[in-house]
């Protein structure tokens, strides 16, 4: 790897041990992936925040670091709502360790808003072509695919190293040639809202770490109808929340960091890619299989929404569905603290039903979910992670089905999608 004179000095320890270690990490990764040098980054997003995932091991390492980050840097979700942790049954010992972790990051100059959707925050803007060092896999997929920025799936330590140095190793998705699609995915059915999560879950397994380009072939179904209604026409073009759900699910069931949607996402529009030779076809039946998941003998005992964190539009929809209703079981809605602060009317409406709006964390990284045996979600990402991370079964359904299950309007098996 080529290093500048200043970088060489850092590597020799002339700028202290923390920066020396940070650069050693980036150089080691650069060597593994064949980087020619380092590249300046605009921001970093650092995973490895929940005490549940990093434990004492991570806490010790972060606490031992010294210095300040050189670019805006932000944290991934923690293991609990940092202000309201008691109401989701977090133990005091866990809460204390969790606060210690957040304080250790804060000491390094990192913004302690813990969210997996940093691209929604004020003062954390991302522009097309920006080089980033982000580590939350769904945020990586969103930044690369929807925003046209450039980041690899950084690990916690490498994102933190990049933040401290303001640079990362220049390989992978930082380079134009690696952003060309390598597999085409033809979707042979119409899609609405949670279908995108189901699609991502089903497709991600087959795609692995390749770069897919999606062809959303909705015309076939549309021709069957008598007329093209407005609603059907709108499904041809997934909105930002649907793209968020698609990428998040593919990054979880596979290792997708960048995807394109023909005619829609910025690079697909600009570069007009040729369809790759390798092809994957997804049909309605594969999405139905995801919806058909049931908790054998039990009803879901927790309904969890907001993986990734709910946008204002998703909160609004949830609030509308819950208006004048009350939940008969736990319904948790995860979002970022900033969004919760800006939209108190949605939060009040949701909480009036007995549901809880929870910030700074999520069902996957918080031990709060471990108290439940079957979790119903509307997210392909949560559906992929809940069984392994929370020791609970997972059921997938649309937002409407999730809310209806929580309010007791519909039970298991009654048309989950």
């Amino acid at each position: 790897m080529y290093l500048t004179k200043e970088e060489e000095q850092i590597l020799n320890g002339e700028a202290g041990e923390t920066l020396q270690k940070a650069l050693e990490i980036l150089v080691a990764l650069g060597d593994i992936y064949g980087a020619e040098g380092l590249i300046p980054i605009k921001s970093a997003q650092i995973a490895g925040v929940s005490y549940k995932t990093i434990g004492d091991a991570g806490l010790e390492w972060i606490s031992d670091l010294k210095g300040k980050v050189k670019v805006p840097a932000i944290l991934n979700p923690a293991g609990m709502d940092l202000e309201n942790w008691e109401r989701i049954r977090i133990e005091r010992t866990f809460a204390e360790k969790q606060k210690e972790i957040v304080r250790a990051y804060e000491k390094l100059g990192i913004r302690c808003e813990c969210t997996c959707t940093p691209y929604t925050l004020k003062n954390f803007s991302v522009k097309s072509g920006d080089h980033l060092a982000w580590s939350e896999s769904s945020a990586v997929a969103y930044a690369n695919s929807v925003l046209g920025a450039r980041t690899n799936r950084e690990g916690g330590p490498s994102a933190l190293s990049a933040a401290l140095l303001g640079k990362t190793a220049n390989y992978g998705f930082h380079l134009e040639e690696n952003r060309i699609p390598t597999i085409s995915v033809s979707v042979e059915c119409s899609l609405k809202t949670s279908d995108y999560g189901a699609l991502g879950y089903a497709a991600g397994k087959a795609i692995g770490s390749q770069v897919p380009i999606f062809y959303l072939n909705e015309k076939k179904e549309r021709k069957k109808g008598k007329e093209k209604s407005k609603e059907e026409a709108a499904t041809a073009c997934p909105n930002q929340d649907e793209l968020k759900a698609l990428g998040a699910a593919m990054a979880a069931s596979g290792a997708v960091a960048l995807y394109h949607v023909a005619g829609l996402t910025p690079e697909a529009k600009k570069r007009k890619f040729e369809p790759p030779a390798e092809k994957l076809v997804i049909e309605r039946s594969q999405l139905d299989e995801v919806y058909a998941s049931l908790c054998e003998d039990s009803e879901p005992d927790l309904i969890a929404l907001g993986c990734p964190h709910c946008s204002p539009a998703e909160l609004k929809k949830t609030a509308e569905l819950l208006k004048d209703k009350s939940v008969s079981k736990e319904l948790w809605v995860f979002t970022s603290r900033e969004i919760a602060k800006f939209y108190p009317e949605y939060i009040n409406c949701i909480e009036k039903s007995g549901a809880k709006v929870i910030c700074d964390t999520c069902m996957v990284v918080s031990p709060a979910s471990n108290h439940y045996s079957c979790v119903m979600v509307n997210s392909g990402k949560a559906f992929a992670y809940v069984p392994g991370m929370c020791g609970a079964k997972a059921v997938f359904g649309s937002l409407e089905a999730c809310v209806q299950n929580a309010t007791g309007e519909k039970k298991k098996g009654e048309d989950f999608n």
């Binding site: 270690k21 050693e24 990490i25 080691a28 593994i32 995973a47 995932t53 434990g55 330590p157 490498s158």
Partner: protein, 118 residues
Amino acid sequence: MLSCDPISFLGSVDPKSGTVVEKGHALYGKSIKGKILIFPHGKGSTVGSYVMYQLKKNKAAPVAIINLETEPIVAVGAIISEIPLLDKLEKNPYEFLKDGDRVRINAGEGFLETLEKA
């Protein structure tokens, strides 16, 4: 100590003792503490890097690691824990080393020498 299986430090190794706790693993029940540990490559969660750091702090880490070809989790873990790491040796270590052999490695210059065959 040779492992024919890859190692996921998160979940497979007890950070307090260095004992391999993953059932069915080639090293199940054995301790990697104080060993020159040879395994093909890492696997599993990126938190594995931190577990290597914890092993080191608990004085339960391997003294050195040799991989056929290392990957980011083990590479990062080795750096933050200051565990010497070698990979891509000229000769396949599984062909000329056995469990219990005594070897000396120099990760700075990148060589390995066999001191005593088991």
